[in-house]
Symmetry: C2
DNA sequence: TCACATTGTTAATCTAGATGAATGCATAGA
DNA sequence: TCTATGCATTCATCTAGATTAACAATGTGA
């Protein structure tokens, strides 16, 4: 994940921002083409459905990219909000530059790996959503992101898992009782 | 989607196969690094969970790639089966070659776009699984892949949507009644 | 400091979709 | 041709998780 820095330093259009907790970096329906690389802190992306309910798509802590790849790839307005959960340090890249600037071959390959890694995470997520119970998904979440439960409120973890805060609370209670 | 052909013709290790309906191209737990590009026909990838239940991850008709990106990116044995639903024509690529062969810059960028497009599809899939009812997911599926219902049995569509064949049958009945 | 919002918990009720089983139909294979 | 296997449908039942609501504990801001 270090090679990204080469890309960043080469991209003269890259800017660094220091968003505060609660700051919104990208809104739904913006025609946006930004990619955010988190150097420090924590961001998240999420949608809001017709009933006004929030669905967290992904958390991005230090070293991760966050962006609305779907709308960017198909040149449509953003579906995802992106906001800041902790005081952060974030590199803002332009999609066009990220994909098309004069990067070296090595950097392009790195780029491909970053995208492949993101895809891999999503692949696992889809399989989990289809085949695992809420309890299993929660346990997998704890294994995969052991530090996040200390940093984000439970209602957001519930939202990430695709369940209500009440359901998560019940799952946790049952897990405690069994130990 | 045509530029892929440039990549294919350059990759001297690429082979063409002609699998028949029902033929399995990749099994779970194989340490495999193949990427399949479908020229004609129809493939699918799927997992089988602990209860023996099938979960279809993706359908790939002409012009699409299919591969277990997750296990490849993390160098682990395959989680996904890949098999053939219709007599097909398929280009078999080696992951190593696909990522690291001496492709031109343009081809590498094309490559990045193919991956980004895959990621975009998965992004939409995750959001749908989290926020939409089975009925809504079915309608979206019909919009996105209008030709597939004629080519694959309903139980597979149900599996793709993450519901049982019975539930899909009920949804369809209700939709017919309303028209 | 006091009002007020946000978070997590519990409990009662409701519902989308799962499960299990039976039936009719079509296709395939000996 | 007959038999068997897979597919779609329907129905009765069950259950994981949603919904609604009430309440305590903690933060937050004027």
């Amino acid at each position: 994940m270090e090679k990204i820095n080469e890309i960043l330093t080469l991209d003269s259009n890259a800017k660094i921002i220091y968003p505060k907790k609660g700051e919104i970096l990208q809104r739904e329906n913006e025609l946006n083409s930004k990619i955010f690389y988190v150097k420090k802190g924590l961001l998240r992306s999420f949608t809001i459905d017709e009933k006004g309910k929030e669905h967290i798509f992904i958390f991005a802590s230090a070293g991760w990219l966050i962006a609305d790849i779907e709308s960017q790839e198909f040149n449509q307005p953003t579906e995802l909000f992106i906001d800041c959960l902790e005081k952060s340090e974030v590199v803002v890249l332009d999609r066009a530059n990220f994909m098309l600037s004069n990067l070296t071959e090595i950097q392009l390959k790195q780029n491909a790996h970053l995208l492949a890694r993101r895809t891999a995470v999503l692949q696992r997520r889809v399989i989990m959503l289809m085949s695992a119970s809420a309890k299993e998904r929660y346990n997998r979440f704890l294994e995969s992101y052991p530090e996040l439960p200390n940093r984000v409120p439970q209602r957001m973890i519930a939202s990430y898992l695709g369940i209500t805060p009440q359901a998560l609370s019940t799952i946790r209670r049952k897990m405690v009782r069994k130990n």
